[in-house]
Symmetry: C2
Subunit: 151 residues, 2 copies
């Protein structure tokens, strides 16, 4: 594909906006929108896992693997959105995110580790272990929300 | 982890809401919010790839692989959000999504295939091939937006 066809393609798709934005630091309101989008999708994929863990939905191994995989990817997407530039944007993030950032980062690492473990377990056959691990993921979600998100 | 601890953990995290919602069909406005969240994040991760393809940002192999992997996951997350129940919700999706659903689904498969190829290429060493493939992904985005999204 020639460079000019490539350039035309991108213009066709996104106008001139996207490629410019890709180079500049995203604006604080955009960054907040992006990190909230991650949380929205974490809810979409974690909800059905919780239902499985609670025995309220049947255990469908393929669906559990798929949701766990998506959740694991999503668990890595939000953190660069808690940029200091967003501190004064409207959101439920508490100032502690920035004032106690070491603890916040500890939770983010813990979540990444727990979802990674969930992916591994979801590929095995131990349903009880998967359900317990869904609980472990939920515990980190809750602990972080408790300390770093307004009620 | 005992069942009661598990249940307590989920209540702690989400109140009574999430587990209930996980069982019910999500409401149309929630479904639209979720699919729009996917598009928001596709923009977050595709933008820097476009900049690389256009030579406006340096080629960082690790960053390209990471963004391609996220994009590939995201390219599978939006489609169940174009549920017929959302037809009358406020969004830029055109009625053609539902009236010409076979063509819409053809685009969704094409995007999944193109992002999957991008992931594979991003793990190799052929930068030119990766850049061309970023263009191929952008072409599907644009073609689908052209046919199925209001201007």
């Amino acid at each position: 594909m020639s460079k000019s066809i490539l350039a035309t393609g991108f213009l066709f798709v996104f106008g001139a906006g996207l490629s410019m934005n890709a180079l500049a630091q995203a604006k604080p309101d955009v960054i907040v929108k992006q990190r909230q989008a991650v949380m929205t999708l974490q809810g979409k994929y974690f909800g059905p896992l919780v239902a499985v863990a609670q025995g309220k939905a049947p255990y469908n191994a393929a669906a559990v693997q798929r949701n766990a995989g998506f959740l694991d990817n999503l668990s890595r997407m939000a953190w660069d959105g808690f940029d200091p530039s967003t501190r004064n944007e409207k959101s439920r993030a508490l100032p502690a995110v920035y004032d106690n950032n070491a603890k916040f980062k500890e939770y983010t690492s813990r979540l990444e580790n727990e979802t990674s473990t969930l992916v591994t377990l979801s590929r095995g056959g131990d349903e009880a272990a998967v359900k317990a691990q869904i609980g472990a993921v939920g515990k980190v979600c809750g602990a972080c929300h408790d300390d770093f998100r307004s009620k």
